[in-house]
């Protein structure tokens, strides 16, 4: 190699100072690129997750409104047969729901150890048409364990109603409340 060739190599290297090759030269641009992609997919995942969660909430809300509107009827439940007729008209498969008529002063606490909605229903035993004012689309019982599960969704609504009760042949309009609880496991 002559002096001229050596000079040419040195000049060429000086001109390409910092040049790492066609891929290496693009490496710095990968930092904002990756940053953008990570941010985008994170927020996209978060949006989908929020959308799904709220959609489930709405489904529960709609189911509770549908069930309660049907069971309330005109606001007057004249008999157990009347209530069961409204109950049979319901066609809700999901979410699970449990509804019943309870006396107005009967309180319940979701976080009570002994919480079990099944014990709260009124019963009609005197009319010869024995049964409970209960309507549900599942045999499952809502328990404290289900309520406390991290992914469970529970919605409840309470409405006042008038229940016609017969006492020695005379009818009495007794204020009661309709409790509707819907949940997804």
């Amino acid at each position: 190699m002559g002096l001229r060739d050596l000079t040419a190599v040195l000049v060429s290297q000086m001109k390409n100072k910092g040049y790492l090759g066609p891929i290496g030269d693009d490496l710095p641009s990968l930092i904002p690129l990756m940053f953008a992609l990570i941010i985008f997919f994170s927020s996209f995942y978060m949006t989908i997750d929020t959308y799904n969660t709220k959609t489930v909430d709405f489904e529960n809300d709609i189911a509770v409104v549908q069930v309660s509107a049907t069971l309330r009827g005109t606001g007057l439940v004249s008999s157990l047969a009347d209530f069961q007729k409204y109950c049979n008209a319901l066609n809700v498969r999901q979410p699970y729901f449990s509804a019943g008529i309870v006396s107005l002063d009967q309180n319940f606490d979701f976080f009570d150890e002994s919480f079990n909605l099944d014990v709260l229903y009124l019963s009609e035993e005197d009319s010869g048409n024995e049964g409970k004012f209960k309507c549900s689309n599942t045999e499952k019982i809502l328990t404290k364990g289900i309520i406390l599960q991290s992914n469970s969704k529970v919605v409840s609504r309470i409405y006042p109603l008038v229940l016609e009760q017969k006492v020695e042949g005379k009818s009495r309009m007794v204020p009661v409340k309709l409790v509707v609880i819907a949940w997804q496991e």
Partner: protein, 249 residues
């Protein structure tokens, strides 16, 4: 030229980042807003449904005239509304059965008591002509209110010894009978608290007269709203001229 190749790629990536930031902003906005309207509507719808059910329940309910339990065979049972009409017919006031009616309203509203404050009123139309004419100067006096019951929660902050930090918040249930005379004062109060749901039902009060059968026409109105933290000195509340009857902490 080789020296500026990398800079062009970085600029492209930064432009890409700007576009992605725009998309991410849109996604965040969508996430925060999605379902908000539906959620608000669900609360409002529940309040309206509850108000309608509660009013029906109060108006359809039986009550015992001799203080027996309703389901006792010895109980002398009548409709609560019949007792109200009887009370009104005697002196155009609702005073004799006022506590029975209030107690029925309280018990029916109890399940929603933690969510809503409410008032219930009976409005009697004294002048049909005046009430229908928006330009009539006497329009606001076209009604009387023989019954006006209001129940609300008041929140009081309890500070620690330094007087700077709030240690706890005490909630007091306060019930009032009000003697409002002006419909516009009620309207202003409804706007102030932001009614979430309300129900109105017409009602007719027969009058005792020797010559002819007559009746005062009126309505029962139940209004629910989310608890508002206002004091008893609040102007729109003062206009209702309320007297505290019961208070529970």
């Amino acid at each position: 030229m080789a020296g500026i190749k990398g800079q062009a790629a970085v600029t492209d990536a930064l432009f890409f980042l700007v576009i992605v930031m725009g998309l991410v902003s849109f996604l965040f906005f969508f996430t925060s807003q999605y379902g908000k309207t539906v959620g608000d509507y669900a609360v409002s719808s529940y309040a309206s449904d509850y108000a309608t059910s509660a009013l029906k329940t109060v108006l359809y309910s039986s009550f015992s005239r001799n203080d027996y339990d309703l389901l006792e065979p010895e109980a002398e049972v009548d409709f609560l509304v019949a007792a109200l009409k009887e009370d009104y017919a005697s002196d155009k006031k609702i005073d004799y059965f006022r506590m029975e009616f209030t107690s029925a309203v309280d018990s029916v509203m109890r399940p929603a008591r933690n969510s809503f404050d409410y008032f219930i009123l009976i409005r009697i139309e004294t002048s049909r002509t005046a009430s229908l004419d928006p330009n009539n100067p006497n329009r606001q006096q076209a009604y009387v209110f023989p019954y006006f019951y209001l129940s609300r929660k008041e929140f009081t902050s309890v500070y620690d010894s330094t007087g700077v930090f709030v240690e706890s918040v005490e909630v007091t249930d306060k019930n009032y009978f009000c003697e409002v005379t002006n419909q516009s004062d009620i309207d202003k109060f409804i706007v102030f608290v932001g009614a979430q749901g309300q129900a109105v039902s017409p009602i007719s009060f027969p009058l005792i007269s020797d010559n002819e059968r007559s009746a005062d026409e009126g309505s029962v109105q139940l209004v629910l709203w989310n608890s508002q933290n206002f004091t008893e000195e609040e102007e729109t509340f003062v206009a209702l001229t309320c007297t505290l009857t019961q208070q529970e902490t």
